[in-house]
Amino acid sequence: MKKHELIQVKNLTKTFHVGKKQVIRAVDDVSFVIAKGETLGLVGESGCGKTTVGRTMIRLYQPDSGEVLFKGENVHQVSKSQNKRITRCMQMIYQDPYASLNPFFTVGEIISEGLEIHALCRTKKEKQQRVYELLEMVGLHRSHINRFPHEFSGGQRQRVGIARSLAVNPEFIICDEAISALDVSIQAQIVNLLIELQRKLELTYLFIAHDLAMVRHISDHTAVMYLGSLVESGQTEDVYNEPLHPYTRGLIEAVPVADPEYEAARSQRIIKGEIPNFTDLPSGCRFRSRCDLATERCAVEKPLLRDVRESHYVACHNI
């Protein structure tokens, strides 16, 4: 083990049954590690299984095979008495700040629910003090404690969601598209807040997003997913400066850059076609149907994630 590996995901597979006989492998043999205090960015297009990975990790889904280790402990096989302890350590910030807050609860009740469940505060006063502290930590005001979610803007609601997840002193937070529902200037506020909190509280993040520029900004490591499998992972700077997998290359080239001269000088190879349906996947490499480099081998054999350079992993036969 290098450094302090807080989270290890090993060969995680999750399938869903659709209709009578169809089975969808939404997550297929995904493995990665996240070191303590670092951020792993998980990127990919919609429907590639990023959210399923996150949800399986915090035990909203049971995996079909593979394991998720939190400090070396399999989170899906803990005893009942240890259940709460794991829940407390792993929290999630959800995508939709409108749907993820109970409209009948005040902000104070939303934030303190976790405190009560995990019995983290002895007296009412202590609880109130903690909620005040959390509100201020995320940039809201004490007076907001008795307000309801509908009285807030999207950015403020997302701050409430962050305060709720921080309430139980977690070590690991999954941000599942936590900023994609917000406007650009508000996104910047929330991302700055997340980075600041990470430094202050030594948090570890799994940052799930489709915005490649934002992932580059926030992550230490980046993993790219396509149709349920990881195609490339490594240090963020390596992945962005020298993308090796044809899908990663195409994905980065497809993002328009806010610099007219760069944009005019840029040569773009656009990935052709569309994402295949999960029920009708190509054999072998899943990216084969859209890939320029595809050979006969790609149709037969599924490429595995392998180490090409120092901690830079790619799943492609032709690299």
Binding site: Q156, E237, V257
Partner: protein, 348 residues
């Protein structure tokens, strides 16, 4: 010589609701030259869609009211025209690509029938000719099998394919101005690249004008010739693309540019963010709408709204900082001028 194809002057649009009057658009001036792409950028709720829908007269009245303003298309004044008269302009003079292709297409009609309906509504041609022209359009927008697509329902197609059909429909009558309201926001990046490429190719071929509404400054850098930045129902800065990106003047534009993370450069510290949130348009502020969030605010900013000023040819701004009596000379925190100063500072 550039010809102004569409000119909007002092447009005011309000919505009458039970809670009061929402002043969604509060004095927009803009023009679109023939053959250019104008991008309107701004955050949600700033009135960019309402402006365009008011020009096309697509807003339901009531609750919407176009309070005042003139809309001039190729010399014809459109304000005050009846609904019947507007029919001649929609489709022929201008048409629209909507953001959400699932709700914009009729789910109970096959794709081909919808296209033929649009074509026949504006052109006097036989059904057979309309069908041929629909098939040609489907081929032109890059759908792999036009004959098959012609006979399918919208829900069986992917988001990218539906957006291509929307483009086909918008192009069916060869409009002079094509409004595209967040055409790629609902799509994935690889699909977005394909659709933007298609729009650029079509524009090159047909030489029409495009008004692109978006909040993505990357898309603007790729597509636009000119940029108008909107905030709280007004255009606060307008100019050529290079001017806006490399020499921005308005503090809000600085904030927008600074809050975008950079895809091609390594992370450098925190993102610039704009504190607070946009104003409530039920009772818009007396002065400059951005003043409460602005780091450079002065006394006058909250008292009196700034008027439009021309800085250089084609670069207009609404901000007191550039008034001749303004005491402050400010170095912008973003743009080309800023980076040069940094480099000079580094070498000396």
């Amino acid at each position: 010589m550039t010809r102004k194809l569409l000119e909007v002057k002092d447009l005011h649009v309000s919505f009458m609701t039970y809670a009061g009057e929402v002043q969604a658009v509060r004095g927009v001036d803009l023009h679109v030259n023939a053959g250019e792409t104008l991008a309107i950028v701004g955050e949600s709720g700033c009135g960019k869609s309402v402006t365009v829908q008011a020009i096309m007269r697509l807003l339901p009245e009531p609750p919407a009211v176009i309070k005042k303003g003139s809309i001039c298309f190729d010399g014809d004044e459109l304000a005050g025209k009846s609904d019947k008269e507007m029919e001649n302009y929609r489709g022929n003079a201008f048409s629209m690509i909507f953001q959400d292709s699932m709700t914009a297409l009729n789910p109970t009609m096959k794709v081909g029938k919808q296209l033929v309906e649009a074509i026949k509504a504006h052109q006097k041609i036989s059904s057979e000719a309309a069908k041929q022209s629909a098939l040609q359009l489907l081929d032109k927008v890059g759908l792999p099998n036009p004959k098959l697509t012609y006979r399918t329902f919208p829900h069986t197609l992917s988001g990218g394919m539906r957006q291509r059909i929307m483009i086909a429909m918008a192009l069916s009558c060869n409009p002079g101005v094509l409004f595209a309201d967040e055409p790629t926001t609902a799509l994935d990046v690889t699909m977005q690249a394909q659709i933007l490429d298609l729009m650029a190719n079509i524009k090159q071929e047909r030489q029409n004008s495009i008004v692109l509404i978006t909040h993505d400054l990357g898309v603007v850098a790729k597509m636009a010739d000119r940029v108008a930045v909107m905030y709280a129902g007004q255009i606060i800065e307008e100019g050529d693309k290079e001017e806006i990106y490399y020499n921005p003047k308005h503090p809000y534009t600085w904030g927008l540019l600074g809050s975008m993370p950079n895809l091609i450069q390594e992370r450098k510290g925190m993102l610039m963010s704009i504190a607070g949130s946009p104003p409530d348009l039920f009772s818009p502020p007396v002065g400059c709408a951005f003043a409460p969030r602005c780091d450079y605010g002065m006394k006058i900013c909250v008292k009196q709204p700034p008027s439009n000023q021309h800085l250089t040819i084609g670069h207009k701004i609404r901000c007191w900082l550039y008034h001749e009596q303004s005491p402050r000379k400010i170095k912008p925190p973003v743009g080309r001028n800023k980076s040069r100063q940094d480099e000079e500072g580094g070498t000396t």
